[in-house]
């Protein structure tokens, strides 16, 4: 049996080697003792925001473990509360409505931010200062259709027969999304078509759907091919950005870095960065770098 024993020993050694190799490969991420584990959601604007905060923190000597493209609000919030990440850029309305399901909402935007901050602080997290820019969910239609049916508000979609709305999967069941829109504007006959995030404009161009859910700062909206419908009842909320961050790592110094970046994110700035990444296909990392450098934050 000596031969068999030798084979088994060799096999175990091999297995051990393979596992060590795997650990070594996975190792660097763990060995870096990353202080801040920064995550982002799953769309380009979040990649830009993530890079902005990441590079600014690194420039001030912090170690950042970057977990990009985690998923929608619901998913990334779970990643936060289960400790897989400890910070990420979030839209204030998403905090208040999607994470905390608040139905009684403050009358001012600043009130939303204060409410969000209070709710997060009860759980051991906090919010950095809000950005000047906001990016809300919106509904867009083709320009020709808007003219044909005289569409100005979201409620006007009731005028159109056979309306289909293309949107990302998680939008469907949200009060601050499709569900709320249907209830508030009485759009009972609208059909929901689940389309992945990056393919909505393509679906609209190819006439696969009548309308799509967009983000108000999306670069394609600046081309003039689409009309964004108004949401006077604010179904889609107040959506300035703040970084949700675990209290234990949110030292005054860290907050100072984050707030300095946020202060520079005006509406024009974010749209310009979206154009650069979404239309001109520049990498979020290079665009963030250029912006931070131009504004003395690196």
């Amino acid at each position: 049996m000596k031969g068999l024993r030798r084979t088994i020993a060799a096999g175990l050694a091999f297995a051990l080697a393979a596992i060590v190799a795997a650990a070594a490969f996975a190792g660097p991420a763990r060995q870096s003792k990353a202080t801040i584990i920064l995550g982002t959601k799953d769309f380009t604007e979040e990649f830009v925001l993530g890079q902005l905060y990441k590079q600014a923190l690194e420039a001030k000597g912090y170690k950042v473990s970057y977990k990009e493209n985690i998923g929608s609000t619901e998913i990334i919030n779970t990643a936060l509360t289960s400790g897989k990440i400890n910070a990420y850029p979030e839209y204030i309305g998403e905090v208040v409505q999607t994470v905390f399901h608040q139905t009684t909402l403050p009358p001012t935007a600043r009130g939303w931010w204060l409410l969000g901050k209070k709710l997060e602080e009860q759980k051991g997290y906090t919010l950095s200062n809000p950005t000047p820019f906001f990016d809300v969910d919106a509904i867009a239609v083709r320009k020709a259709d808007a003219a044909k049916y005289h569409l100005v508000n979201v409620a006007d979609l009731a005028k159109v027969p056979n309306v289909s709305l293309g949107a990302r999967p998680e939008f469907k069941n949200r009060e601050e999304g499709f569900k709320g829109m249907v209830d508030t504007y009485h759009l009972t006959k609208i059909k929901y078509v689940s389309i992945p995030n990056g393919l909505t404009y393509q679906a609209l161009d190819q006439k696969k759907v009548f309308a799509i859910n967009v983000f108000s700062t999306d670069a394609p909206l600046s081309t003039g091919k689409y009309v964004v419908l108004k949401d006077p009842k604010l179904v889609f909320g107040v959506q300035n950005v703040a970084v949700v961050i675990k209290k234990s790592i949110a030292t005054p110094d860290v907050l100072k870095v984050l707030n300095a970046v946020s202060a520079k994110l005006s509406q024009n700035a974010i749209v310009a960065m979206n154009v650069a990444t979404q239309l001109n296909k520049k990498t979020p990392s290079s665009v963030a770098h250029a912006f931070l450098q131009a504004n003395g934050l690196l």
Partner: protein, 250 residues
Amino acid sequence: MGPHLFLAAGGHGKVVIPDFGGPSGGAHGCIARNGLFCWSWVDEHWGDTLQPALIQHLYLTAIAVAIGFTIAFFAALLAHRRNWFETPFGLFSAFLYTIPSLALFQLLVPFTGLSVTTIEIGLVGYTLLILFRNTLTGLREVPEDVIEAARGMGLSPGQIMARVELPLALPAIMAGLRIATVTTISLATVAAYITPLGLGKPIFYGLQSSFHTEFMATGALAIALALAADVLLVTAQRALMPWTRMRRAT
């Protein structure tokens, strides 16, 4: 009420918006038109996007196949010696195999996080069935009389395994390795849904930003990798076992 734009606390400094540059290739170039395959992009980003993704992908695949093979091999050895082991392990690996990969990766995240570990556990799970079945089949198909003859020549069970059974089982084992490898290459692209690693990363990013070249080029690269791996393993198989070539019926 409307959403009030409000200035962040702590200073009104001027915001400088630098020129990020137009699309590579100009306003009417391939990228501006979002063409299906822009060589300029591939050229420009081979080093920072495609090559790292390719190397990560090779690592992910190699580690998964190595670990999967080790586990499956010893499981097959055990099942060969103790027949009762085949059913539980076979059912276990078959069960793993039928779980859609997208789901399995998501189910692992709460336990092992957004990490390479999650990906590797999933990928290893998928290799087990084919490697186990093929190795076991290969071992079982060794003709009894050959083993008898070896026993008659005075070889110990360990020597029989090493010098007779394993070499004869090698074609089946290699076939299994080949299938497992290409399957793993394919599944590893899906793994990027959980954490952006490997060739799946540019594919998903390309899909998410509707950037044709990114996912077309990466898709083509993934296909080329899988085919290259397949050809390589077939060649290795033929080189190691020239006698298998004569097996074809016609």
